[in-house]
């Protein structure tokens, strides 16, 4: 027993498992801590989709997927440890689901040549593929989200919001600060008044911010929150009787876990999204048969069909499609991280593709190119229906204000290129 334990210990400390020819995917999840409520459904969806592919199709292109999970706790130090522990043996892709960890990993993945996909989060200017060779953030990013929120408000006010005031309640971190620049740019264009209200990690204490909202009574509140901060903010908004239909959250602040705690009065709360919601898709039958019924569902298996579960599944689906594309390009099933990058850069999501996968109309159509790693910036607004207990889409997909965003992305990515002596690609 003792020797056995010691061997296990030594093997464990050596960390990296045996090299396998499988397609290695690392799920840097967080199922603990103040952000666990949001991390669990995403990770479940991510894992279940790959389990489905393994069970139903025997992997991708005949190669089984080897899924490795690593707990980061939304903490950058642990995230770095996870990355270093798992990056060997040809890990194909990293999706840290944390803007903080993304910023750590951008220089590291560029040096180690492993693609990084930050879907709807991370560094917005990574959209510029000329500068960020290894980083992708399709199909939408934070600045798109900021623009979507403003466009939605514009629509509700017949295109004139010059006399309106908007407050941004944000997580006081790289994540929450991302939209500020865009919102300021849009404020110049549309003439609204912007108030910034930072909330410190983890966000359980927001009394003073909402007191200020109550005093200044802005017409709209936009929120960039995550984890426990969402629940608290929605509860506080309910407490001060803020009209919920004027309260718009980014896509990371729009899951069932965030609104349910506030009860019926959260009804009408809006959140953005860049993919469809609900479990009314053919793929859910397959997940039921191949994953749930065989007892292989990740986690407790109680998150299936929730907003963040769908998003995790969407992230896995995009990764799987990129693997397929890479396999086609290079004519081999066992791809390397470098081939994976080519697959991501040539990825094209069409309606037929999604329908064939059992997810018709699930996300926007987009095509990744060498210059554009960020898709076309389509998103929609969803609204919480407390009676039915689900979010419902209330708009079509619409595009963000590219006139404002493109120069900002250009400016920020060029500054990064200059700081780090990066030669522009795609010339």
């Amino acid at each position: 027993m003792k020797t056995k334990l010691m061997t296990a210990l030594v093997a464990a400390v050596m960390a990296a498992g045996p090299a396998m020819a499988d397609l290695k995917i690392v799920d840097t999840s967080y199922r603990t801590g103040p952000y666990g409520a949001n991390g669990i459904p995403f990770s479940d969806g991510y894992q279940d989709y790959f389990t489905l592919l393994n069970e139903r199709d025997g992997g991708i292109g005949g190669e089984m997927i080897n899924l490795v999970e690593c707990e980061t706790g939304y903490n950058t130090e642990k995230g770095v440890e996870c990355y270093e522990a798992t990056k060997g043996d040809g890990s194909l892709i990293y999706q840290p689901l944390s803007t903080g960890i993304t910023y750590q990993l951008i220089p590291k993945v560029s040096a180690d040549k492993i693609p990084l996909h930050t879907m709807g989060y991370g560094r917005t200017s990574a959209k510029n593929g000329e500068v960020f060779e290894w980083v992708f953030n399709y199909p939408a990013n934070y600045w798109d989200g900021a623009s979507h929120a403003i466009t939605h408000i514009l629509e509700q006010n017949d295109g004139d919001i010059s006399d309106k005031s908007i407050a941004l309640v944000y997580h006081n971190s790289a994540y929450g600060k991302e939209p500020i620049r865009t919102l300021e740019g849009l404020a110049e264009k549309h003439g609204y008044d912007l108030t910034l209200l930072p909330v410190d990690h983890p966000g359980q204490e927001q009394k003073s911010q909402w007191l200020q909202i109550r005093r200044e009574s802005p017409d709209y509140v936009i929120m960039w929150g995550w984890g426990v901060m969402n629940q608290v903010a929605i509860q506080e908004a309910v407490n001060i009787r803020f009209p919920m239909e004027n309260f718009i959250g980014i896509w990371w602040s729009g899951s069932e876990n965030d609104v349910k705690a506030a009860g019926d009065r959260a009804d009408g709360y809006k959140a953005l999204t860049f993919h469809n919601i609900g479990s009314n898709y053919p793929i859910y039958d397959d997940i039921q048969t191949h994953v749930v019924d065989t007892g292989k569902a990740a986690g407790a298996g109680d998150q299936i069909g929730s907003v963040l579960y769908n998003r995790g599944m969407y992230a896995a689906m995009l990764a799987a499609e990129a693997i397929k594309t890479a396999q086609e390009i290079h004519g081999t099933a066992a791809i390397t991280p470098e081939m994976m990058r080519d697959g991501m850069e040539n990825l094209e999501m069409t309606e037929e593709k999604m329908a064939a996968l059992g997810l018709p109309g699930f996300g926007p159509e987009f095509k990744v190119t060498c210059e554009n790693h960020g898709g076309n910036g389509f998103g929609a607004v969803s609204q919480w229906d407390a009676q039915a207990g689900e979010f419902k889409l209330i708009t079509e997909y619409f595009q963000s204000d590219q006139d404002i965003l493109q120069p900002l992305i250009e400016e920020d990515s060029m500054a990064y290129a200059k700081e780090n002596d990066i030669e522009l690609r795609c010339q």
């Binding site: 999840s29 999970e69 600060k177």
Partner: protein, 358 residues
């Protein structure tokens, strides 16, 4: 048998008052240095450096710094995270403003700047003591984090509010940035750790250290025998700040490369370093190393054993890790309130007599 004073004759005062008076200890110390400098750099890879060695070395410096303040001078501080942030932001501003100067000097300068800030926040210690001082330093923690979040100048007005370490070299070898070789980052930090430990050790057994300890043991008595409390307390704050600043600068520039002040240098960091000092042993340089090793390595080891070795679910392992580490802290405080350093001392006493204890 091997570990004893007998037969090791000291013929000068210098010999008699050296750090390791026992021959065996001395050779062990040289052996550790030799392995650390000449063997480890050749065998480590990215994982060992980033998950084990860099955090251990950097937290050791922070623990040494805090140990001088709390362990030697008896001034409780909860502002370590904030002071590390000062080191990190000072280093960032210096790196960006003077790219042609070696990063080595930037880190030392950051330590100096932190010493100044720490001195400023040490002023209340002349009037208040104990828990009240802890609260005053807690204010420093929150104020500094707020400051670095609020004032754009500190992070050069970057959109995300983060600071990123650009690539800097020492003798042409990159030390910061993504292209850094594992051995370079390791050796760079090791040099700072060894230098800090030697300086701290010699300060604490010299006149300065004796003054600090006099203040710690009873400040009124110390004042009566001629120790100036103003100078003693403030010098402890400054020296402590210097080391903590260096560790903060290394933490940002070499270890993480990109830092968000609220997350990297929050109140949790202050507590973590304080726990290191308490578990390692108050008033002991060795204790600082032992405490840092305990709190850095144990979670990594547990994680690798539970998830990598036994294949348990990651969330279960993460929760168990909290319980085990927390339980061990309590166990240590109950069974050995003087920390790991005391265990080491007891072990050495036993070794002297071994194998004939009578």
């Amino acid at each position: 048998m091997f570990y004893r004073e007998a037969g090791d004759f000291k013929t000068s005062y210098t010999d008699d008052s050296q750090t390791f008076p026992i021959k065996f200890d001395r050779y062990r110390y040289y052996a550790v240095l030799l392995v650390a400098f000449a063997v480890v750099p050749f065998v480590i890879n990215d994982y060992w450096v980033n998950a084990v060695f860099l955090p251990f070395l950097i937290y050791s410096i922070a623990a040494i710094g805090l140990n001088i303040l709390v362990g030697y001078c008896g001034q409780v501080s909860l502002g370590t995270g904030g002071f590390m942030a000062v080191g990190a932001y000072a280093c960032y501003k210096l790196m960006v403003a003077f790219p042609e100067v070696s990063i080595f000097f930037h880190i030392i300068l950051s330590g100096g700047i932190t010493a100044g800030v720490c001195l400023l926040f040490g002023l209340p210690s002349l009037r208040i003591k104990g828990f009240y001082l802890a609260v005053a330093t807690l204010a420093a923690q929150f104020f500094l984090v707020w400051l670095f979040n609020r004032v754009g100048w500190f992070y050069n007005y970057s959109a995300s509010g983060q600071i990123n370490a650009p690539e800097r070299t020492v003798f042409g070898v990159p030390i910061t940035g993504a292209e850094t070789a594992p051995w370079a980052a390791y050796l760079f930090c090791l040099v700072f750790v060894v230098a800090s430990a030697i300086i701290a050790r010699n300060l604490t057994r010299g006149m300065a250290g004796r003054k600090w300890m006099a203040i710690r043991d009873m400040d009124i008595a110390a004042e009566i025998i001629g120790v100036n409390p103003l100078k003693a307390k403030l010098s402890a704050f400054a020296v402590s700040g210097f080391f903590v600043g260096i560790s903060g600068a290394l933490f940002f520039a070499v270890y993480l490369g990109a830092v968000e002040v609220g997350e990297a240098f929050g109140i949790n960091k202050s507590f973590l370093v304080l726990f290191m000092v308490i578990i390692g042993g108050l008033g002991s340089i060795f204790g600082s190393f032992a405490g840092a090793a305990f709190l850095v390595l144990l979670p990594v080891l547990l994680k690798n054993v539970l998830v990598g070795g036994l294949g348990w679910p990651t969330d279960l392992a993460a929760h168990l890790e909290f319980m085990i580490v927390g339980g061990m802290i309590i166990l240590f405080l109950v069974l050995e309130p003087h920390g790991l350093a005391q265990l080491w001392r007891v072990a050495k006493e036993k070794l002297r007599l071994w194998p004939f204890p009578h």
